[in-house]
């Protein structure tokens, strides 16, 4: 997928990924690891993302994924389409409309809703973005704007 191929209505999606316990824990551990920033992996107190008993004590049926995992998977999908331009200028908004449970299948998706000239010679691509499960139920929804400059 390259931006030149995109038209309003173009849609693409990631390969399916299971939201495994490990993927949830990786994100849980990343938080104190980034905070400590001492070259070692850190862990934290039980969370609703990695501890069944704690999740149940908070009224949940079991652990659920941190929403930022699906946000990052959507961002990866956009980066693969728009390249580094997307991390230098753009917008991404995501809203978590359904919990993602352990081993649930997640597919990240994007659809172009508008293409327009931006003020600096770049092209702005407006997109609907979402994550869905293997029954096409939406789990995360949102929108994005990616700016791409075409070299002369």
């Amino acid at each position: 997928m390259i931006p030149a191929d995109l038209r309003v209505g173009s849609e693409w999606r990631s390969r399916p990924r299971e939201m495994t316990r490990e993927r949830m824990r990786w994100y849980v551990d990343a938080q104190p690891t980034v905070a400590a920033d001492n070259g070692r992996i850190q862990t934290q107190e039980p969370t609703i993302h990695d501890d069944d008993d704690y999740a149940k004590s908070q009224g949940l049926p079991g652990i659920i994924a941190d929403g930022m995992i699906s946000t990052n998977w959507i961002m990866g999908l956009l980066l693969d389409a728009f390249g580094n331009d997307f991390v230098a200028r753009g917008r991404l908004r995501t809203k978590y409309v359904a919990p993602i449970y352990e081993d649930q299948v997640v597919v990240s998706c994007a659809r172009v809703t508008g293409i327009e000239a931006a003020d600096d010679g770049a092209t702005a691509y407006r997109l609907d973005v979402w994550c869905e499960d293997d029954a096409a139920k939406k789990l995360t929804i949102g929108e994005a704007v990616a700016y791409v400059k075409v070299s002369a």
């Binding site: 980034v34 905070a35 946000t71 998977w73 580094n84 991390v87 995501t94």
Partner: protein, 144 residues
Amino acid sequence: MAIGRYTSDLERGDVLGPVDYTLSPFAVREYCHAVELHQDCFQGTHDQIMPPTLIHLDKLRLYRHACPLGTGPHARVHVEYDATVHDAVRVDDRLRVAGRVSDRYEKRGRDYVHIDMELTRVADGKLLISYRDTVIVSYKGSVA
């Protein structure tokens, strides 16, 4: 002012930070491994940049600074991420993050908090990322 204790105490108008820090290659690579962002721009040993989503952990940085006692008695649930990137954030840059609680309201028995944050480069004050974070600060399970 409701800072100084739990994140569940935060009220509209509370100011979080600013907090300065230097973005390290290790922090970026660890974060990207965790969320499976394997693009070269995050993994390299030079010209490495920050995934914009890492701004979300800057919110936790502000929480630790302003709410040292932690989350409070109930879980905090993230509802919405909304980030606008104005320029790339480069590894090894000295950064400043600041936030303000722009709203707190109750909806269907749950307390929602919006925090508006800005990440700037210390050297020249350039705004790099604007971020609005929405959370339920004291999640108590399903609400009838």
